[in-house]
Chain length 160, copies 2
């Protein structure tokens, strides 16, 4: 390493330590780990609310329009979270503990956005359906379940 | 117990087993535990996004209008989740592992709603402020931090 590049590296390290942000597209390990936890919280909320709707759809719990609407609104809100701050480039399986996010999420960003938007659309449809009646809720479940599955099949890696 | 009340109790148990939902205001242990996890996911998202904004406010990370807006929108979405399905009556500290929710949340529901609504309002103000400039973001932080603190002081129990 030349004197010049050593100086640049040392300066970069100092600025990283000061700002907590790495150069270029990079992010600190701490930022990547925090983003993964935020994403897992997002998935937890999506799963919880889909579960409540699914239980009503299959008759495991009684249909209740108010509760179904509450769950559908929360599903929609969780699905529609802005991805910029929680899907940080580099927060990928193998780099950050616990995540199963494949690198394709960033190398094929348009494809990932398409899958994520499909869930947002299905969740919005569920908000209307959930407050209508049980048959409408049941009909809307396929859209929610299908868009979850489609994204996981393409962009989620194997179990850690 | 009379024959009649025994029959009612037995029927209630059978229906509970079938539907997974207890009678009256009660919920199954499984439902209460799931609601607590959903709430903790909500708090995780609130904390993550408040943290990102707080780091910019104090200059630990550079001010970035797009990232700040993303964080503020996600903070607002998380703060505004419908409480009906995630703040289930009975999911209280001492009953469900891991939660610090005080019983006052349900015995003083109007008071709790007031504190929760104050955060929603502060988060909405942050959405506008975050995209304006660093000074606006810094000015809006007090509202977010203050409403978090006010609710925790009243409705959060001691560490488990």
């Amino acid at each position: 390493m030349s004197k010049h590049s050593t100086l640049i590296a040392a300066t970069a390290l100092a600025i990283t330590a000061m700002t907590g942000v790495a150069f270029g597209d990079g992010h600190t390990d701490k930022a990547l780990a925090a983003a993964v936890k935020a994403r897992q919280a997002q998935m937890q909320l999506i799963g919880y609310n889909t579960g409540l709707l699914g239980e009503m759809a299959k008759g495991a719990t009684p249909y209740d329009a108010a509760l179904a609407t509450s769950a559908a609104k929360n599903l929609s809100a969780a699905a529609s979270l802005d991805r910029q701050t929680i899907w940080l480039e580099g927060s990928v399986q193998g780099t950050v503990d616990g995540t199963r996010a494949k690198a394709d999420i960033w190398t094929n960003a348009a494809g990932f956005t398409e899958k994520a938007t499909a869930l947002e659309t299905a969740a919005d449809a569920m908000v209307t359906a959930a407050g209508t009646d049980l048959a409408a809720l049941q009909a809307a479940m396929g859209g929610v379940g299908g868009t979850c599955k489609a994204c996981h099949e393409t962009y989620r890696g194997p179990k850690n």
